[in-house]
């Protein structure tokens, strides 16, 4: 059955909302999505500045940049907390907010008011978090293990805990909204297995959030009581149990890894399919593997406690931790098979997609290494772990966010990002990222502990390499920021569907009108059916109806008549 979408009855000229719209309460999911993303990018800069301070401190084995070891503790604690709770999770929520309703062809989320409310919990939470720096810094790492967090950290720890409470409520409310939206707002013709994969991963993520985040809330409640109520839940000297915190914290925080990475995997599926003009290989398995990851993700938490857990309980967690590599592996092989023999366009989005793929595999492999009990005992609490988590969260989640930004910026703003700058950004980021985090593996295996400001001088060479690469990595971020600011004003105009994609967010103008679609869009029976006659007819129809798709560089052979515009991709991009 042919399902040619006729989404619009007027020229594809979108109008960007006025800047003031973003500064006040709004129930439009597109406004809220941008609010999330801009807030998250702000935290990215803050967290990044802290990372630069960490690397500056570690240039030499002695304490020099930080005023004291305590201050260094605070710097890396804030870095971790802000990057996880202020940057990655809200950023993914931003993508979800903006694109899930669009991909479903819906006008808005199921509960617009709740959506706005969930967002507006973030600014006060962020303020509390930053305020904690000034009233008694947190020193316990983002994991906030007691007794560090109860007996040693300053009052800021209490503020940080309150802040995380707010962020937790925000993400639970957001997740409920996503689940209801995805269940009930799909258009006719879109079953669960016709949904775009990004929406699938947001669904899996939302399920994790609803079930896992309350664990953190419970643990934080006990922590706050210990700090200000005088209870001794975590005070071993008074009958408390520090492992109670570790268990409950990781009940939440291992699944939270998937909260951060799963949406990135969804973005990757979109980007790889669109930019290599291929259908997703094994769509159903990829979709279901998200649920698999969500489910198994709840059974592995104690691999973070290999050194503190009763010895005989460790082996089961070693096994489950390895099993979770299976659904992840399904995704990786699906991505490889998807780009295999594809008509690959090396756009910035695609490059970051491939960057994710390569770096995430490294992170995945070091993850399996860490899941191996004997090896974990050896590298436990060393830079090996730091390397692993950054390969997963930066090489994975952040690269995916970059890919998503390059992919969807035209939809959100109506302007193309500069591809040349985008590629420059990619190459510098990719190389400096690798040089920053890969040598950490060596440092770790040689025994350099994490979370120290003063280290054995024999590690200095490695640390200098890491720090210099780290600074380059930090600076490379500004290429993206410059690109975004500049392209907002001077970027090439983007038409409705610059990448010639088939999912519904591209079936409306860029940026979309406030009602998203002028008339109800009809989804393709296969959202990734590139190369099928259905897809060709759809893209041709879009072209016929609304004039040439700008910029015209995809499938030039098919749409030869339409290619009048200059190609924004310098070389190797046109056919």
């Amino acid at each position: 059955m042919a399902t040619i979408t006729a989404p619009l009855d007027r020229p594809l000229e979108g109008k960007r909302p006025h800047i003031n719209e973003y500064l006040r309460w709004s129930v439009d999911h597109k406004i809220i999505g941008v609010q999330y993303m801009v807030t998250a990018l702000f935290f990215f800069i803050v967290g990044g500045a802290l990372a630069m301070m960490i690397r500056a401190e570690l240039l030499t084995p002695a304490l020099d940049v930080a005023a004291s070891g305590q201050q260094f503790n605070t710097i890396f604690s804030m870095h971790g907390t802000i990057m996880i709770f202020g940057w990655i999770i809200p950023m993914m929520a931003g993508f979800g907010n903006y694109f899930v309703p669009l991909q479903l062809g819906a006008k808005d989320m199921a509960f617009p008011w709740l959506n706005a409310f969930a967002f507006w919990l973030i600014p006060p939470a962020g303020m509390l978090l930053i305020l904690s720096w000034f009233i008694g810094p947190i020193e316990a790492g983002w994991t906030a293990y007691p007794p560090l967090s109860t007996l040693f950290s300053g009052d800021g720890q209490t503020l940080a805990a309150l802040s995380l409470h707010l962020l937790g409520i925000s993400s639970i409310l957001g997740a409920i909204n996503f689940i209801v939206t995805i269940k009930n707002m799909r258009p006719p013709g879109m079953g669960y297995f016709q949904m775009p994969l990004f929406t699938w991963t947001i669904l899996a993520t939302a399920l994790i959030i609803v079930l896992a985040t309350p664990f953190l809330a419970g643990a934080l409640t006990l922590l706050i009581l210990d700090r200000i109520g005088g209870t001794k839940f975590f005070d071993a000297a008074n009958g408390g149990d520090v492992l109670l915190w570790q268990n409950v914290f990781w009940f939440y925080s291992h699944p939270a890894v998937y909260i951060m990475v799963l949406p990135g995997m969804g973005i990757l599926s979109e980007v790889l399919a669109v930019h290599s003009r291929k259908s997703i290989f094994g769509y159903k398995l990829v979709a279901l593997s998200s649920l698999g990851i969500a489910l198994i993700g709840f059974t592995v938490w104690a691999h973070h406690m290999f050194t503190s857990l009763t010895p005989e309980l460790r082996i089961p967690f070693m096994i489950t931790s390895m099993i979770i590599a299976v659904p992840t592996g399904i995704k990786v092989f699906s991505w490889l098979a998807t780009i295999w023999m594809g008509k690959i366009r090396f756009t910035a989005a695609m490059l970051f997609g491939l960057g994710f793929l390569s770096m995430f595999v490294i992170g995945g492999i070091s993850g399996v290494m860490l899941a191996t009990l004997p090896f974990d005992i050896h590298v436990h609490d060393t830079y090996f772990v730091v390397s692993h988590l950054h390969f997963v969260l930066f090489g994975g989640a952040v690269f995916a966010i970059y890919a998503g930004i390059y992919h969807w910026f035209p939809k959100v703003t109506g302007r193309m990002l500069d591809e040349r700058l985008g590629r420059l950004h990619f190459f510098i980021t990719y190389v400096s990222f690798f040089l920053t985090f890969f040598p950490m593996n060596f440092a770790g295996m040689l025994g350099m502990p994490r979370r120290v400001a003063v280290y054995d001088p024999k590690f200095q060479t490695l640390n200098v390499i890491i720090s210099i690469a780290g600074f380059v990595l930090g600076v490379s971020t500004f290429i993206l920021f410059y690109n975004m600011f500049d392209s907002l004003r001077h970027g090439k105009k983007a038409s409705a569907n610059p990448w010639r994609a088939l999912t519904l967010e591209w079936a409306t103008s860029s940026p979309p009108p406030s009602t998203n679609f002028i008339e109800d869009p009809v989804p393709m029976s296969d959202p990734y059916g590139y190369g099928t006659t259905e897809a060709e007819a759809y893209l041709y129809g879009q072209e016929q109806q609304f004039g040439p798709l700008k910029p015209a560089h995809f499938e030039a052979a098919l749409l030869a008549a339409a290619s009048d515009d200059s190609d924004p991709l310098p070389e190797g991009a046109g056919d």
């Binding site: 799909r186 000297a237 009958g239 492992l243 268990n247 709840f298 857990l309 009763t310 309980l313």
Partner: protein
């Protein structure tokens, strides 16, 4: 008097229809649910006897009686068997409230899963935490 004489048997049937949480058809089911909005009658049939109050009242009476039984059983005696009996009664009461007052008996089956899955996760979590908790809590 009785707007909706939906008997037990009919409930079973509408339940069976709702089991079908088909991936592709969530919305149709929504409409279906609403069409069968479940309003109990003003009387309750138990073993062929018609009692002059709605099922909700009958459930309340049962809950109250169970609570009295619990208190009688629970005060004074203790031990593993007693604990299991008490837990069973408590879960029975919870089941009554959830299935009758919160309408899970007749409502969308998905809601049942939405409750049961976290319940399993939560109970397993509690059991784990009890299992790994230190004996007699550290230094006295």
């Amino acid at each position: 008097m009785a707007e909706d004489e939906m008997t037990q048997a009919e409930n079973e049937i509408s339940d069976a229809e709702n089991v079908n949480e088909e991936a592709a058809a969530p919305v149709d089911e929504t409409a279906h649910e609403i069409a069968h909005a479940h309003i109990p009658s003003d009387t309750t049939d138990v073993l062929g006897i018609t009692l002059p109050f709605p099922i909700y009242t009958a459930v309340f009476v049962i809950l109250a009686v169970l609570t009295v039984i619990e208190v009688v059983v629970g005060t004074g005696s203790s031990g593993a068997v007693i604990a299991i009996i008490l837990a069973a009664i408590a879960f029975g009461k919870a089941y009554l409230v959830v299935s009758y007052y919160m309408h899970l008996r007749t409502d969308n089956r998905l809601f049942t899963y939405t409750l049961v899955f976290p319940l399993i996760v939560g109970i397993l979590g509690i059991l784990w935490l009890i299992l790994v908790a230190p004996e007699a809590g550290g230094v006295e």
